[in-house]
């Protein structure tokens, strides 16, 4: 099972002192956080993609390429890559390039994006969001799997004799996750292609997550990719930890109360009860995270949101130390218990290349 972190890349004032980092500071902080993730033994770093303030990561492959050069093991991913408003041709090129530079340590998570104006800014129509996701992804797959593509569709210029370069490393396209919170169409899309499904459950009740993942698993089997338990599932998580849980609550509360996403709404207590947010001791985080399996079955990837709502870099790095040293080793051990040997691991470049070599032989 893979463990990692995902970042939104928001520039948010620290509510305890009113200080707002500059974009430069925030971008550098994201890199420092990624390097820390590798240092403390995490497997994955994923960055969001946004095209409006207060978010900085508009160019994920630039950032991930830089991180790739400064890490050795970390898998670089996205959360999410906008399959609706990006040209699928550019996604095919950018991520294949990144794959070469990172020696295969790359996958990506596709999402639609929910910021209305981004669609017209990039020449698209939000009402076509699902249709864009479907058509663009179908083209992206072909660009990575066929050398020469003739293609005609609804949303972009036709392609005649187009070759996307560089070709994917070793002829193995990056593994794709489809991220969604509430659209069953996206769970269906992931199931249809036998791709991974990431449910970003961090702001949602467990029952909703369970239903979406079960739909994906059922449809994955329906489309002939294996058993429901062979489907590739990822979940989000959101934690803040201190040795004593009261200290964690006291320190995190002002960040919670003013957080851009849920601030000024439910109380910290209500939100921790209704969503996966866990604020407390490392042991509480371990227990809560292990409980995710009860709803969705044995799964492949667990990403935590650690740097948001104005938390200072120093605090985030401390949190990553706790996550890497005290939490994830226990999670690895405990999740392995009772996990049937035939439940697959998340695909990596090495595993996909091995499959390709076997099928070619």
């Amino acid at each position: 099972m893979q463990f990692g972190i995902f970042t939104v890349g928001d520039v948010t004032p620290d509510p305890t002192n009113g200080r707002t980092p500059t974009e430069h500071e925030r971008i550098k902080a994201m890199v420092a956080i990624a390097l820390k993730a590798e240092e403390v033994g995490l497997d994955v770093f994923a960055t969001g993609e946004h095209h409006n303030p207060p978010f900085v990561p508009s160019s994920p492959t630039t950032m991930l390429g830089h991180i790739a050069a400064r890490t050795e093991k970390l898998i670089l991913s996205t959360s999410t890559t906008l399959i609706t408003t990006n040209d699928p041709v550019k996604i095919a090129e950018d991520y294949a390039m990144l794959q070469h530079l990172a020696d295969g340590r790359v996958d990506l998570m596709l999402g639609r994006g929910n910021t209305g104006p981004v669609y017209p800014w990039f020449g698209q129509d939000i009402r076509q969001g699902i249709n864009l996701a479907k058509e663009n992804y179908s083209l992206l797959r072909r660009l990575w799997r066929e050398d020469v593509v003739d293609w005609e569709g609804t949303f972009r210029t036709p392609l005649q004799a187009f070759v996307s370069t560089p070709r994917p490393l070793d002829g193995v396209p990056p593994f794709v996750w489809h991220g969604s919170i509430r659209s069953p169409e996206i769970a269906e899309q992931a199931a249809y292609y036998g791709d991974g499904f990431f449910h970003n459950n961090i702001f949602w009740p467990a029952d909703h997550t369970r239903r979406m993942v079960q739909l994906y698993r059922r449809r994955f089997a329906h489309h002939g990719h294996g058993r429901p338990e062979d489907a590739v599932v990822g979940l989000g998580g959101q934690v803040f930890m201190r040795k004593n849980s009261q200290d964690a609550v006291r320190e995190f509360r002002p960040y919670f109360d003013n957080a851009p996403v849920y601030g000024h709404g439910p109380s910290l207590e209500e939100f921790t009860e209704q969503t996966p947010l866990t604020v407390g001791s490392p042991q509480q985080v371990i227990e809560r995270t292990l409980s995710f399996r009860e709803g969705v079955g044995d799964y492949q990837r667990q990403l935590f949101l650690m740097d948001h709502a104005g938390l200072p870099l120093k605090t985030v790095l401390e949190q990553l130390d706790i996550l890497g040293e005290e939490v994830v080793p226990v999670l690895r051990r405990e999740f392995a218990k009772g996990r049937p040997a035939d439940v697959p691991e998340a695909p990596t470049h090495a595993s996909l290349r091995a499959v390709r070599e076997v099928s070619a032989a």
Binding site: K134, E185, Q189, Y192, F203, Y262, G265, P266, Q274
Partner: protein, 204 residues
């Protein structure tokens, strides 16, 4: 068969709830007369005020609000009653329907009603409440019932039914629509439709 009554009254007891109960009784009596006695359940929005605000902020309903939304979504008929605030429905009333799936009320029979201090507000039902439910593609019964304070202590006149007459008429209209609905119609399966669309696109 289930009738759900949504009341946005703020005081306890409220004249809004009183009107809601009278309307529910009228619809129930008419359905019973047709041999289709419904169960009725009242959703008091006042008790869900905090949950509705939290849903607006977080995007998901706390459990109790979730149950109320499910009840409305699954109802065979709705009776919705709001006090008139500033020439329209109350903000709480609107916010509740804002957090319900826009398709949840499609084709659903709805009786709209409102309360207010004077009969001069009665057209709020026609220029505010009816368009809201038209937007939600609900089937709104012809008689919308407005109860001004004075209606609780007066009868009809040569030109208009009194409140009890209007309540009976509206209840009967709702009952007729509810009774005419097909039983247990299956909604179209979105996933199957999508599978077909993806199959059209798929190359490999």
């Amino acid at each position: 068969m289930k009738l759900i009554v949504v009341s946005a009254g703020l005081s306890t007891p409220s004249s809004t709830r009183l009107l809601a109960d009278r309307l529910a009784e009228a619809a129930r009596d008419e359905l019973t007369a047709r041999g289709r006695t419904p169960s009725t359940e009242v959703v008091e929005l006042r008790e869900l005020a905090g949950d509705i605000a939290n849903h607006l902020v977080t995007g998901f309903p706390p459990p109790r609000l979730g149950a109320a939304i499910d009840a409305v979504t699954e109802a065979d008929g709705l009776i919705v009653v709001t006090p008139v605030f500033a020439a329209s429905y109350s903000g709480l009333f609107k916010s509740f329907f804002d957090v319900i799936d826009p398709d949840a009320l499609s084709g659903k029979p709805v009786l709209i009603a409102a309360t207010g201090g004077t009969a001069r507000h009665s057209l709020a039902l026609e220029h505010a409440v009816r368009p809201l439910f038209a937007h939600l593609r609900a089937v709104v019964v012809p008689t919308a019932v407005f109860a001004a304070s004075e209606d609780w202590g007066s009868g009809g006149d040569a030109y208009t039914d009194g409140l009890p007459g209007r309540v009976r008429r509206a209840g009967a209209e709702l009952a007729a629509l509810v009774a005419a609905r097909p039983v247990g119609a299956e909604p179209e399966d979105d996933v199957t439709v999508l599978e077909r669309q993806l199959a059209d696109l798929r190359f490999d």
